[in-house]
């Protein structure tokens, strides 16, 4: 078998607000780098082909499945994972708290990915209908919740941030 020389490359990027650099195997996905080099356990592997959304992270404010994103592409990017949402004293962000309060978490495996997509939605500052929210959240599969309480959690937080009453 042909011996192949492993290529390494140093990637410099911003992870959860902090400038970092790591030398990685160019074959690594962003999931690999975040889990193995940064031990970010919120980045889950559910399919590794971009079909489930469990590995979702925010790159320059947009949601990406990190499993189908090469680690070296993170060069110069701002990457956010769920770990970045937590306050300095372990305070949950409003959207995390809403997932907790609305019983939107069961096995917990899809939750980090969902919460990060919710962050992108909420940070747009827009008000969405239920149908629009369903579409915006549709890149994540969940087998436990039927999506119902996840919708409630996102909706509740959206209205709260907009300073509006949650419609009944």
């Amino acid at each position: 078998m042909e011996k192949h020389n492993i290529q390494y490359q140093t990637v410099r990027f911003n992870l959860n607000g902090k400038d970092v650099e790591r030398t990685v195997d160019v074959r690594a996905s962003l999931t690999d780098m975040l889990r193995n080099d940064f031990r970010m356990t919120s980045v889950k592997k559910g399919c590794e082909v971009g079909e489930c959304g469990a590995c979702n992270v925010l790159i320059d404010g947009e949601a990406f499945n990190s499993c189908i994103y090469l680690a070296v592409w993170a060069e110069g990017k701002k990457v956010r994972t769920l770990e970045g949402l937590l306050g300095p004293n372990g305070e949950l962000s409003d959207i995390q708290q809403a997932f907790v309060d609305e019983a939107a978490i069961q096995c917990g495996f899809c939750s980090p990915g969902f919460i990060l997509t919710a962050v992108e939605i909420l940070e747009s500052g827009k008000e969405y209908t239920d149908a629009e929210l369903r579409k915006l959240l549709s890149g994540h599969l969940c087998r436990c919740t039927g999506y119902e309480n996840i919708l409630r959690a996102v909706k509740k937080t959206m209205y709260k941030r907009l300073g509006k009453e949650l419609p009944q």
């Binding site: 074959r27 949601a63 592409w73 549709s138």
Partner: protein, 293 residues
Amino acid sequence: MYDMKALYQAKSVKDAVALRLAHPEAQIIAGGSDVLVQMREGKRAGAEFISIQTLDEIRGVFLDADGTLRIGALTSFSHITRDPLIQKYINVLGEAVDQVGGPQIRNIGTIGGNTCNGVTSADSASTLHAWEAIVELTGPNGVRRQPIQDFYIKAGKVDLREGEIQTAILIPKESYRNFFGHYIKYAMRNAMDIATLGTSVNVRLSADKKTVERARVAFGVAGPVPLRAETAEKLAAGQPVSLELAERFAQAVKEDINPRDSWRAAKDFRLHIAVESAKRAFIESVKLAGGDL
């Protein structure tokens, strides 16, 4: 960890062309949502790859001086959908690519990748065919332009020549001016799915909105590559707007399409859906154009 033998990262279009010439066997990766998945499946395992993912120079939507709409090959689906020029001139394209996969896929997937992998189910492809898009390719001898229909050679194969990369999709002004269109993605789920059938129709009506001046229709998954249904187009041209015309137009698409039987869907089922979708997309297009039905 992906099983790749080597990764070459282009720093510019020029660099990409040089890398293509230096590594003719290497596969191009744009967004990665198709190629990386294939690699995971073992299909391209052990191959060499040229990443053009970071070439911001071919990202974005612009209007050229002659009114041609220029969509950079690396523009992601979500950016196409949100782009004001797209919304103004070819909104249906934004709507079509807004039905690709899910939000994360639409953030990574590019229109260049979607057309260069040559698959018939690509959600952008039927609309680009129906709007007579031009593919811009940049190679060692400069820029080459090709109608999208000629770009598709056969299933999974496009006319991407030695040293070339796709740099843009162009929609000429005469192709979009006064046209209104509608895309129907027929799939088994409302998200995260590939099209069982994609139908894109657009029409240009006379000034009084009573006559169809021109109608165009293209399908994905109605043949090995996306295709136009010219019999139906000819039938509708110059005809007065009516529901009866929609019905005849829809029936006529059967003359040109040739879906196959596969485990994903049977031929007769796809034919049935094609007719119904053509009818509905035609009616919707006429309404968008201001026609009364």
